[in-house]
């Protein structure tokens, strides 16, 4: 395989910046329809704002944070233009996220020397199409995940091309947060001391499968540079429609919602195991008396969590006018996509240092006095335990 990943950093943030130039160089978070952060400026990321974070929590991390809603129509138009530029070459294009897509170069170029001029030309075209403020970063490898990691690791306007032999060396020091795993899994890995893809790749496969399931195993394969997923067309193949017959017909939204979630559960589990999520969902509602309603639901980033999908579905079902009791419900997942990573931390976390502790001790010592101590071994071989060490004031 030969996959090229084209990634435009801060795609949505730049679009917001075009509308309001005053927002440049200020911490900005863009909220999706569910009031969760779906994109943030680099200043906000530095302050600890992550994707999928509730607005209130983001405000606690960054008190001066500015919130704006995503203009979906504008973003969609810009995304379409971006994808059209890539598709102009007549090669298969798969949308990854906002301002990011994969391009299959399998039939055109398979070595670094072949890819380099192509990638350069592609970058220039995308830059021309999107404007001066949007510079793409390009990554190339034999697998999708490594290509994406290479693109994320590159600076805007640069490219990083990897051969099969460079994959392990390149991936090993990268942070674990590049994997689109759920927050709980990432947190557990963090507490286990697993910080880099190399550490995660070195774990026994059986243990990973046992503890984190199929999604964890899939992620580990990616961390080892093994990603055999083909580049698929932009609209991913979605599972067939799900039909729910309600007997007796009901106007109770909660009942309908419960039935819908029950029916969607296996599909969601399957998608989640492949680290994929639902990007667009359509609900056809057939009421008694023959009337129908259609609800088209789109999310900013793909979701696979049942709770997120339930809240999306609940919002649309409750805002729809119900002329009568509901007789039948068709649910179709129109588009799926790869789950987004929650935090684009591109650099390996620094080892723990005492500096923050000393700073904290200094602040607290002004109120509580010299109560902070540090133990130091002065005579480790002394037969009396209490004389082997001394306690010094930390400040």
């Amino acid at each position: 395989m030969s996959v090229l990943c084209c990634y435009v950093p801060d795609f949505l943030v730049h679009l917001a910046g075009r509308r309001e130039p005053d927002l440049a160089s200020r911490p900005l978070a863009l909220l999706g329809p569910d009031e969760h952060v779906c994109a943030a400026s680099p200043q906000a990321y530095q302050a600890g704002v992550h994707m999928a974070m509730p607005a209130r929590q983001a405000r606690t991390h960054c008190p001066g944070l500015i919130f704006r809603s995503v203009d979906m129509a504008e973003a969609q138009a810009e995304q379409s233009a971006f994808q059209a530029t890539l598709a102009a070459w007549g090669l298969p294009v798969e949308r990854l996220s906002w301002g990011a897509a994969y391009l299959d170069l399998h039939d055109v170029a398979r070595s670094k020397t072949d890819v380099q001029p192509l990638a350069g030309e592609l970058g220039r075209q995308v830059h021309k199409q999107l404007g001066q403020d949007q510079q793409p970063a390009i990554g190339w490898d034999s697998g999708k995940f490594t290509a994406r990691a290479a693109a994320l690791r590159s600076r805007p306007g640069r490219m990083r091309l990897l051969g099969k032999e460079d994959e392990v060396t390149f991936l090993s020091p990268l942070p674990i947060t590049l994997l689109p795993l759920s927050h709980n899994v990432l947190q557990q890995l963090h507490w286990l001391g697993i910080r880099t893809l190399g550490q995660f790749a070195a774990l026994p496969a059986v243990a990973v499968q046992q503890r984190f399931g199929a999604a964890g195993r899939q992620a580990q394969l990616w961390a080892r540079g093994k990603d055999a997923r083909p580049v698929r067309p932009t609209v991913n193949a979605a599972p067939g429609p799900i039909t729910i017959d309600l007997d007796p017909p009901t106007a109770n939204t909660s009942l309908v919602l419960a039935a819908a979630m029950h029916a969607l559960q296996p599909t969601l589990q399957e998608m989640s195991a492949h680290l994929e999520g639902c990007r667009r969902l359509r609900a056809d509602l057939h009421f008694l008396g023959g009337e129908t309603r259609i609800a088209d639901m789109a999310v900013v980033e793909p979701i696979s969590q049942p709770a997120s999908l339930q809240s999306l579905l609940a919002y649309h079902l409750r805002t729809l006018t119900w002329p009568n009791e509901l007789l039948r419900l068709h649910l179709s997942i129109l588009e799926t996509g790869e789950l987004a990573v929650q935090q684009l931390a591109l650099f390996v976390e620094q080892p723990l240092e005492k500096a923050p502790l000393v700073q904290m001790a200094k602040e607290l010592a002004t109120r509580y006095g010299p109560v902070f101590l540090r133990a130091e071994f002065t005579n480790p071989s002394h037969p009396i335990s209490a004389r082997r060490f001394q306690l010094h004031a930390l400040i």
């Binding site: 507490w191 923050p356 109560v371 101590l373 133990a375 209490a386 082997r388 060490f389 306690l391």
Partner: protein, 232 residues
């Protein structure tokens, strides 16, 4: 079924198994109670040693009896340990809140609860601070471990003991009980203790685990043959 929280292993698999969350839960209050030499401090130090892989840890040593040599034996890296020795009183409660609020620590051990609450004013302040403390812990994902001597059972029934408030809010309460001294050739080298889960917010199949603690701080895990090793 409640979601399992992230947890720090105590390093003793049998003990982790009875907590219901595979160790000491982060973001929650844990109460370790037991008489002197029952091994509660050892278990807390082992958990701190494991927590040091994830972040900074602190010991609020109100009893002023923490032994760094023993901590080192339990695996704690003393260079990255924050040892705090305030005087008991209202200030110690405020200091505990400030330590949690700092978000710099991933585990704190309070040694011991009785020293924190023996003054009336401190006890009242502490009771008022327990609920905010529990909320604060959830937002900071910090594990807070209280070491406490067990209260007489009749005091517990009447809720007159000073650890009542923390017992109510603790997500996990483990009581350590001294079982017997063990040794080889009439030399006392170990003692056996049993750990009992009195309360856990997460389902667990077993509620009792046996642990051997060596004099030098090493921990051995049962089963073992009492008849062969006991010397009295």
């Amino acid at each position: 079924m409640p979601t399992l929280p992230p947890a720090v292993s105590t390093g003793i698999s049998s003990l982790d198994a009875i907590t219901g969350c595979h160790g000491i839960p982060l973001g929650h209050i844990t109460l370790l109670s037991g008489r002197i030499t029952s091994g509660k401090a050892t278990v807390a130090y082992m958990a701190l040693a494991n927590a040091q892989h994830a972040g900074n840890v602190a010991i609020l040593d109100l009893a002023h009896n923490c032994d760094p040599d023993y901590m080192h034996g339990c695996g704690i890296d003393l260079a990255h340990l924050f040892l705090v020795r305030p005087n008991p009183g209202v200030g110690a409660v405020d200091l505990l809140l400030d330590l949690v609020r700092s978000r710099q620590l991933c585990a704190i051990v309070v040694n011991g609860l009785a020293d924190l609450t023996y003054q009336r004013s401190a006890y009242q302040r502490f009771n008022a601070a327990v609920s905010p403390l529990a909320q604060l812990l959830r937002s900071t994902a910090c594990a807070l471990i209280f070491l406490d001597d067990p209260s007489p059972i009749w005091l517990r029934w009447l809720n007159w003991d000073r650890s009542w408030a923390i017992r109510q809010r603790a997500a996990l309460h483990i009581e350590m009980r001294f079982e017997q001294d063990l040794g080889v050739s009439r030399q006392h080298t170990h003692h056996a203790v049993s750990a009992h889960t009195l309360h856990s917010r997460w389902p667990h199949k077993e509620s009792e685990a046996m642990v051997e603690i060596a004099i030098n701080g090493d921990i051995l895990i049962g089963p073992y043959d009492y008849s062969q090793r006991r010397h009295r």
